[in-house]
């Protein structure tokens, strides 16, 4: 730990120079799932005691913790506001991805998380104050942002923040002719396009829709149908998780 830190490199072959069989699209996915099959999802509330509300989510190898603080005093510089404020921050650990990176704030994800949640929270219920939503991605296994969004809405519910509905999110990759739901890192790295939907299933409202890459209209329709279907299923999981947590505290 002297002043000079020697430069280092990871010995693991980074993204093994895309396998040559790239254009021959496999009929099976690297982890053996079917195209329309999501990863097993595990969610739990109350992961961090010092927060007002928190949740932990594990979708395959993607592991995320979200803490919610507040409503608490807004920063001094903020003007008076009848509406409450939502402040989001997403960061990665240094060991989240296979090669070590500087764990730092992910500005893009922070903004996207904010946009996805903003529409679902009843901001009128906490005027003048701020609710902070902080997410830490412990391990990145692909589809990180949708997991963060679903986990964050669960943490908000755990903190007792008023919402119109739980926000759940799912993403989908377009790999040549195939549409694969809930992609892992390996699939995301060679996708042609990606579609992510955040929605409030019981109100049938979409809070965020992000499409990247080249898409044909029928494909978009198909992809949206698949994602919304996944969201509905995920929302039953989150609801059960909340109900379990509530009934266990009553006992």
């Amino acid at each position: 730990m002297a002043g000079k830190t020697p430069t280092t490199y990871s010995p693991s072959p980074r993204l093994k120079s895309k396998p040559a069989k790239n254009d021959a699209y496999d009929s099976v996915r690297p982890d053996g799932r079917g195209f329309a099959q999501c990863r097993p999802a595990f969610m739990r509330t109350g992961a961090v005691n010092s927060a007002s509300g928190s949740a932990y989510a594990e979708f395959g190898n993607t592991k995320v913790i979200v803490s919610v603080f507040g409503p608490r005093e807004s920063k001094k510089a903020m003007m008076y506001s009848d509406l409450g404020r939502l402040n989001c921050n997403v960061s990665y650990t240094t060991f989240a991805s296979p090669s070590r990176a500087q764990g730092s704030d992910h500005k893009e994800f922070s903004t996207m998380l904010h946009k996805a949640l903003e529409g679902a929270i009843i901001l009128e219920t906490f005027p003048k104050t701020t609710v902070d939503v902080f997410a830490l991605i412990l391990e990145s296994g692909g589809g990180d942002l949708p997991v963060v969004i679903s986990c964050a809405s669960l943490a908000l519910a755990d903190a007792g923040i008023m919402m119109y509905d739980l926000v759940v999110s799912a993403s989908l990759s377009c790999l040549g002719p195939n549409l694969v739901i809930d992609p892992i890192n390996e699939e995301e790295s060679r996708e042609d396009g990606n579609l992510m939907i955040s929605c409030m299933p019981s109100r049938n409202e979409v809070t965020q829709l992000i499409i990247t890459g080249e898409w044909s209209t029928p494909k978009i329709n198909e992809a949206m149908r698949l994602c919304l279907d996944a969201c509905t299923k995920l929302s039953t999981i989150t609801r059960t998780c909340l109900k379990d947590a509530a009934s266990s505290t009553q006992d």
Binding site: A2, P6, Y9, P11, A47, F95
Partner: protein
């Protein structure tokens, strides 16, 4: 929150909570007079401690440690470096301690917590002082290549005794570490030998034997709060902030003192008190050694 009725005349739950917030010091002192802590522990007792190895799949060794609700996640990642010219036979270890904003309401994004660099320095000092890692074991090719072990510890939930939990998770992650098998390629770079070993059978791995670190003198620590003649072992964040005198003692497995850390505080520590702290740490060290041994044997069974 199940509070014992030590507050006597304050009968209902609501009033106890109000008393706790308005007169925190008196609230704690009344508990201490009854030789009990607000969470029902005896004065010298530590909180429940658990340890899980291998929590992070993307690292070479990892551990999750929980002391009460204080939670630490430690992971080791191995990278290759050219050893320093003054020590060509040695690798290196870099220890970082992070307090992300999720862990405590006091930490805000963009502004690192004041405590984080201090705990990082303390961890580094303790691990280096104890001599638990022989840096020679991290050497690959003398003068050409050696391992740089990045040990990153994340605080997921901060509720007092951060150093103890961080040290426990750090030593557990190092015990869990499996060094990847590597060989030299044509450019002189070190690459991982894939487990199947189908591609390049002709290359001998350079570290066939050294897959695990030999850890000697593993240090464990206990933080105590001193207050009016009482020694409170393993304080919560609330206790730490109300009674500001902390003493952290770290002992290794041969009962050598690796660190005795008391950064100021209103209470003076006299010799007898320091001896009591060391005694408490000795007992705690035995407990923690058992917890670590159980976690390792659970792992080996799987």
């Amino acid at each position: 929150m199940g509070l014992p009725d030590a507050a006597g005349d304050l009968s209902s739950e609501m009033e106890v909570d109000a008393f706790r917030r308005l007169f925190p010091l008196r609230f704690h002192e009344r508990h201490l007079a009854e030789s009990i802590r607000p969470d029902g522990r005896p004065v010298g007792g530590a909180r429940d401690t658990s340890l899980a190895l291998g929590a992070v799949g993307s690292s070479d060794g990892s551990a999750l440690a929980k002391i009460g609700s204080t939670t630490m996640l430690a992971a080791v990642k191995m990278e290759v470096m050219t050893p320093l010219s003054e020590s060509p036979e040695e690798g290196c270890i870099a220890i970082e301690f992070h307090m992300p904003p999720i862990c405590s309401p006091l930490v805000r994004p963009g502004r690192p917590a004041d405590a984080a660099p201090v705990v990082a320095k303390q961890l580094n000092d303790t691990i280096v002082s104890s001599g638990m890692i022989n840096l020679k074991e991290l050497s690959l090719v003398s003068g050409k290549a050696a391992w740089m072990a990045y040990l990153d510890i994340y605080c997921l939930d901060a509720d007092g005794a951060l150093f103890d939990a961080a040290l426990l998770s750090a030593v557990a992650a190092l015990s869990h570490l499996r060094i990847p098998q590597v060989s030299l390629n044509d450019d002189g770079r070190v690459v991982v030998v894939s487990e199947e070993g189908e591609e390049k059978i002709d290359r001998e791995p350079v570290n066939k034997e050294k897959r695990k670190l030999n850890l000697t003198n593993i240090p464990f620590s206990l933080t105590c709060v001193l207050h009016k003649g009482y020694i409170l072992a393993d304080p919560t964040a609330e206790e730490e902030s109300i009674m500001g005198t902390l003493v952290t003692v770290a002992l290794d497995s041969s009962d050598q003192l690796v660190s005795l850390y008391k950064p100021g505080g209103p209470v003076l520590a006299h010799t007898s008190v320091l001896k009591d702290c060391v005694e408490l740490t000795k007992k705690r060290t035995v407990e923690l050694q058992k917890i670590l041994a159980e976690a390792i044997s659970d792992m080996d069974l799987e």
